[in-house]
């Protein structure tokens, strides 16, 4: 993103007065940007959300349906085959191989984001492509997770090597919860949409190495599974998403559950609210930064940082950094208001308690924010992986015979994108309502108190959903 953005910004910087601020592309990898959702469709979307919300309040079930545990195994043979040791080894090996290819192509390949395997693989195929995969098939990333695979392999070897066994890992501090994961996601998003050289292949490779180092350290201190389950950002992220899926692995079995019920079973450890706020806030800012509202704020911020003595390249980066963190904080403040409202309904729970009790219902909203914002990017830029896989370094190779393939920019039309976007947002809103309602029925003995507590959560959700639609109508306006 940023090289182009900066080049444009620098070129124009001299003539600022008469000119619109530089067009800031959300990702440097973006070639085709979406047209903004037209006003009438925005109005339709918002209207549908309101109708759905009120009808939901009126007709939703009076007894919890998602909270009770309902999981039944599929055929034992299939489950055992899919979770067998050879399959696990194979999946882990594929994950590790891909990690190595990212690092190798990022360091050794041409330093052009479009022509190198690393940026497209990390930002598009991995970060965005695994979202629909997790939604449908469950937590597949856990099986392919390269860090987990390396950690388990290492501890297996170490156990063999040292006769007395390894020392017990340190107990994972309860207060730490999912905070490391939230931090990891902030760092990733910073690299993706703020950092000046964030999509340069070598930056992607080095960041991957640094993150791998941190993860190995964490696993070494607290144990592989403890760190992966709570602290490793991508594991936690894709696991959250996979909780929507009806498929879940338990032990050596794979079973089905009600869709969304995995979210009801989420333990709201410390840091979970922060994690969700990062997810919603970062996508919000990515959308906002494409629109005229943000473009009108940037010059002021840049002037401010310039007056502090930063160079022109740094000021744009800092302005975007402020925007990212500011948006995350704004979204958090809004959610805190809703939680305070829920608390005012009664019951002894603290505000943090109320915020945590309903945080799982924000997961669908966070997912559809990402889905609506990136669907066309995934479908279009994702095609690049066909030729990048054949020529990961950009050296003109043709390993798989696909080097000559090109991107079909017409693969999805503007109208289809718009309806998908509104469809996603409405679907996420409905799922969130369902989850929050179900939770309220468990928390409050009397159904009418439960419904009353829901007015607040409903207001929060309508706010988030309308914000999502507004951002889509803002994006890429001139």
């Amino acid at each position: 993103m940023t090289r182009r953005r900066l080049a444009a910004a620098l070129g124009i910087a001299g003539l600022v007065a008469a000119l619109v601020p530089a067009q800031a592309a959300a990702h440097g990898l973006v070639v085709r940007a979406d047209l903004p959702i037209p006003e009438w469709l925005f109005a339709w979307g918002a209207a549908i959300v309101l109708i759905v919300s009120f009808v939901a309040l009126a007709v939703l079930w009076p007894k919890p349906r998602l909270e009770p545990e309902r999981w039944r195994p599929l055929s034992a043979r299939v489950g055992r085959a899919l979770t067998s040791v050879p399959v696990e080894l194979l999946a882990g090996a594929i994950g590790v191989a891909l990690l190595l290819i990212v690092v190798w192509s990022g360091l050794a390949g041409v330093q052009s984001p479009q022509a190198n395997f690393a940026p497209t693989f990390v930002y598009v195929i991995f970060w965005l492509g695994l979202v629909p995969v997790s939604l449908i098939f469950g937590d597949l990333f856990r099986a392919f997770n390269p860090w987990r695979a390396i950690g388990r392999g290492f501890s297996w070897v170490a156990r063999r090597g040292s006769r007395g066994g390894l020392p017990e890992p340190l107990p994972y501090p309860p207060w730490l919860g999912r905070w490391p994961a939230a931090l990891a996601l902030v760092a990733f998003v910073w690299l993706e949409i703020v950092a000046e050289s964030g999509n340069t292949p070598s930056t992607v490779a080095i960041a991957t190495l640094v993150y791998s180092g941190v993860t190995f350290l964490g696993m070494a201190l607290y144990g592989v599974e403890a760190w992966i389950d709570r602290a490793e950002g991508f594991s936690v992220y894709f696991n959250l998403i996979s909780r929507v899926s009806p498929l879940e692995r338990r032990g050596r079995e794979i079973g089905v559950r009600r869709p969304l019920s995995g979210l009801a079973a989420l333990t709201p450890l410390p840091g979970t609210v922060a994690l969700l706020m990062v997810m919603i806030g970062s996508v919000s800012f990515d959308g906002l930064s494409d629109g005229p509202t943000w473009q009108s704020i940037v010059p002021g911020l840049q002037d401010f940082f310039a007056s502090l003595g930063f160079g022109p390249a740094r000021t744009l980066e800092l302005a975007f950094g402020v925007g990212l963190i500011g948006t995350i904080l704004l979204v958090s403040g809004f959610y805190a208001l809703g939680a305070a409202g829920v608390r005012s309904v009664g019951g002894a729970r603290s505000e943090t308690g109320a915020a945590r009790a309903f945080v799982h219902s924000l997961v669908p909203i966070a997912i559809v924010y990402a889905a609506a914002h990136y669907v066309s990017f995934l479908l279009i830029q994702g095609q690049a992986i066909a030729f990048l896989a054949s020529d990961p370094l950009g050296e003109g190779w043709n390993l798989l015979g696909t080097a000559a393939s090109t991107i079909d920019y017409g693969v999805i039309g503007t109208n289809a994108v718009w309806y998908l976007q509104v469809g996603f947002v409405v679907a996420g809103h409905v799922s969130a309502l369902v989850l929050a309602h179900d939770r309220a029925l468990v928390l409050y003995e009397k159904a009418h108190v439960a419904v009353r507590s829901q007015y607040w959560m409903l207001a929060v959700m309508v706010g988030f959903t309308t914000l999502a639609l507004w951002l889509l109508s803002q994006a890429n306006q001139g």
């Binding site: 003539l15 067009q23 070639v31 085709r32 309101l50 039309g413 109208n415």
Partner: protein, 155 residues
């Protein structure tokens, strides 16, 4: 149960509210046909005049379709487009004639359509193509990585 009845009443009120909200927010005219989610889903452009809402900058595209190509001229001096990054708005299916003149040597790249043409101080880059891909695409000077326009192809 009486609570059920009041809930249904609540729902009715909500639907009414939402309908009013939609009527208020709805654009003034000519969009009803297009608002039905099933319409206009296909790839073919809608036959009616859908340009009225776009607040178009060009002027050429005000209702004229396919007969006359949209012609756009962009001038680059001192490494920046004169008048800022231009918005080039065309309706899908129209023919685009694009001429870029610059005071340096460079290559002009229309992204998405992947059209390239060299430009030199006395030799403008000329493009002629059909705008058949929807979306927003960058037009840039490839050598200096300067965006000079955005091509907006509306359905």
């Amino acid at each position: 149960m009486q609570s059920n009845r009041s809930r249904v009443a609540l729902a009715v009120v909500a639907v009414a509210l939402a309908a009013v909200a939609f009527l208020v927010l709805r654009p003034a005219d000519d969009e009803e046909g297009a608002s039905a989610p099933s319409a206009a889903q296909g790839s073919s452009p809608a036959p009616d005049e859908e340009d009225s809402g776009s607040g178009g900058g060009g002027g050429e595209d005000g209702g004229v379709k396919r007969d006359k190509p949209d012609s756009v001229e962009i001038e680059v001096t001192n490494g920046a487009p004169v008048g800022g990054v231009a918005d080039v708005e065309v309706a899908k299916g129209n023919e685009v004639l694009l001429e870029v003149s610059a005071d340096t040597e460079d290559v002009v790249h229309v992204h998405g359509y992947d059209q390239f043409a060299g430009v030199a101080p006395d030799d403008p880059a000329k493009f002629k193509f059909i705008a058949d891909l929807e979306g927003i695409y960058e037009i840039e000077l490839e050598g200096s990585h300067t965006q000079i326009a955005r091509l907006e192809v509306t359905p």
